[in-house]
Amino acid sequence: MNLTVQSSPHIRGVFKTSRLMLDVVVALLPALVVGTWVLGFRALAVTAVSMASAVGAEWLYCMAAGKQNTLRDCSALVTGMLLALTLPASVPLGIAVLGSVFAIVLAKCMCGGLGQNILNPALAARAFLMLLFPAALTRYEAIDGISSATPLHRMVMPALPEYSLMDMFLGRIPGSIGELSALALLLGGVFLVARKVISPKIPLAYLGSVAVLTLIFSKTGSPVDWMLYSVLGGGVMLGAIFMATDYATSPVTPMGQILYGIGCGVLTVFFRYFGLFPEGVTYAILLMNLATWGIDRITAPRRFGVKKGEQV
């Protein structure tokens, strides 16, 4: 009998890369459903094209670079889906394909592959597309013929959006495919926390700091409304739950995750208030991505057996 001699432990838990990735896809489905419902079938088409081209790009890269095929970890599906959800439904399909290829090849594979990349691939691709095609990425179609101005466009004025908070919560507003409904995104977030895919630390710290800052520095007479519109509008919910929690590009220490979430929140509000575009989530998270390794280093957990500040 041939007995295997390997290091302990001899049993492993049920977590598996592909399971975690597919859980993220499932968690994003409510947002995609709302996006398709509100924006039409084209939203679904953009997402499908983006996912397919992400998978294709990874396959081609692995072939070309002579690397082991990594498609089975399903991470390309997540990247393609996340990118699509940040795009308007009206975006030309070629732009979605270009973005996916950029995300997979440049932002992920060429930065060392899964787990090694510094920047969130989907957001890096979005930032890249914003540079090349700003018009295509910020042109939103009108909903029910009311207005094509997203809530954030009005908030730049500054004024409260013309949509009710309930519309914002449910997603009856113009915007990118995946950012419409806070409810759908929250459902996905609860699912991910329940499945232990993510810890709620980063989303809570992120949304919490956005809420606190917009409450304090309200631009209108009703700070609570301003705060609620700020949290529900734009990509902050999608960013906080799905982008900032990307494993490779966020800290692993408990303290670091809170710090990182707060950093994302502060930068988001900062960019929204003082930036060129109404939205700041993409750049806020990308900037914090750069700080991730440094944050981990300064937030190492207290050593077992040593009190805080003590040296051994």
Partner: protein, 436 residues
């Protein structure tokens, strides 16, 4: 308020496989192989030579320094004194005894019915002579450990957590002979004079808990603590933290937290040594796992081969992937089933291929789950990364030496990284770098 230790995991425990009412006495083998090293420290020098007749319980090896004697576990004739495979994976000098099946036992030497009347030195002497080591797996000489703790501990802990999946040796002992454990605790209390003596059990051993609860009124001063089941509760640093809230200092022993921790099997052995004058010649062993036909609990003579035990338990399934000495989380995989049961062998585990097992291409996602589950608050993913690039300085900064190798990180890792293996190699790397 119940305290808890950091991190930890909830593996599938599979204890039901082997839990029986009473342990069966395993077949007494034709031959026993008694390694001269069954403890941490210096190997014994054999006291017998080929051709010698030995009795059960006769001392057949002893030595100086950090060393406790070993005893014959059957009566018979010595047929070899030579290096033999040992469950640690090394070749270790051993005395091989051909059983005469008479089981002639040497009369108990010195012993005392009433340990309360004995002075601590005499008790420690009996503990040493009986060859007692830490029977939970660490195998540190019992008398040396107790001696180093005299006057320095206020809490004596009997560890019956048995947090490793499958293993039911401590559970069985508490279900069948709880009074031996409690008596052993009283004897060690006489030596160490602690303020508290705690028997710690995880709450998945209800029958054992009930038995102990019934007996407690007769044993003044001993407390029972039932802890919520979580791995690695039975690791001594984590157990001390869960019971007292104290943290053992880095690189130090439990005595730095004023605690002494012994496995319950060790307490039972202390009782038998001191009050019955009987040395360690057998122990309870769980033979379990999905790959064994009839999982069982045996009382096994030290020196019985894994092969013999597996035969008695119905033999191995054809698709057996590994046989492990100890538990699935920290045990050692065996390649040669002729290895003997030693004093610290609590389990022989036979496993099929793990459904959740290693990936073809292990990749770190940086998901951080290893950081969350590490009971020593380390960052296994960074230890892995810096071991890979052989950076001893970073490994030291990240306290690689603090790792207790419990395997919680590797168990949880979705990328199926060989974390424990690499961290162990990282420790070696740091040791070598420091010795330069």
């Amino acid at each position: 308020m119940k305290r808890r230790f950091f991190g930890g995991i909830h593996p599938s425990y599979r204890k039901e496989l082997s839990v029986k009412v009473t342990p069966s006495v395993a077949v007494i083998p034709k031959q026993v192989v008694i390694p001269m090293l069954q403890h941490i420290g210096v190997p014994c020098v054999p006291l017998v030579k080929v051709g010698d007749k030995v009795l059960r319980g006769q001392k057949i090896g002893d030595g100086e320094g950090l060393c406790v004697p070993v005893h014959a576990s059957v009566s018979g004739t010595v047929i070899a004194v030579e290096p033999r495979p040992h469950p640690s994976g090394k070749l270790i000098n051993a005395v091989v005894i051909e059983n005469d099946f008479q089981d002639t036992t040497i009369p108990p030497r010195t012993y005392c019915q009433n340990a309360e009347a004995m002075d601590p030195d005499a008790i420690l002497g009996l503990i040493r002579e009986a060859g007692i080591v830490g029977m939970g797996g660490a195998a540190f000489p019992g008398n040396v450990k107790a001696l180093s703790e005299i006057g320095k501990v206020d809490t004596l802990i009997a560890n019956a957590c048995e947090c490793e999946p499958y293993i039911t040796a401590d559970d069985t002992l508490l279900r069948t002979n709880p009074e031996q454990v409690l008596r052993g605790m009283q004897i060690l209390c006489r030596v160490l004079q602690p303020k508290r003596a705690i028997l710690a059990v995880e709450d998945n051993k209800q029958e054992a808990i009930a038995k102990v609860k019934n007996l407690l009124p007769e044993y003044a001063g001993i407390e029972l603590e039932v802890l919520p089941t979580r791995y690695p509760q039975g690791a001594e640093k984590q157990l001390i933290q869960a019971l007292t809230g104290r943290e053992v200092l880095p690189g130090q022993l439990p005595v730095s937290a004023h605690c002494a921790v012994f496995n319950v099997s060790t307490f039972a052995a202390i009782y038998r040594a001191v009050e019955l004058g009987v040395p360690v010649t057998s122990r309870i062993v769980t033979v379990s796992g999905e790959a064994i036909r009839e999982p069982q609990i045996f009382i096994v003579r030290i020196g019985t081969s894994f092969h013999d035990l597996i035969e008695v338990a119905g033999g191995l399934n054809d698709s057996t992937e590994r046989v492990i000495s100890g538990g699935p989380m920290m045990g050692i995989a065996q390649s040669d089933l002729s290895v003997p049961v030693v004093k610290a062998t609590n389990s022989v585990l036979c496993l099929l291929k793990d459904r959740n097992g290693a990936a073809e291409n292990p990749v770190c996602l940086r998901c951080g789950k290893c950081v969350c589950v590490c009971p020593m608050r380390l960052q296994p993913l960074y230890l892995y990364r810096f071991e890979k690039v052989k950076n001893a300085r970073e490994l030291e900064r990240l306290h690689v030496m603090d790792c207790i190798e419990c395997g919680s990180c590797a168990f949880t890792c979705p990328g199926k990284l060989p974390l424990v293996e690499r961290i162990r190699s990282g420790k070696q790397l740091l040791k070598e770098a420091k010795s330069k």
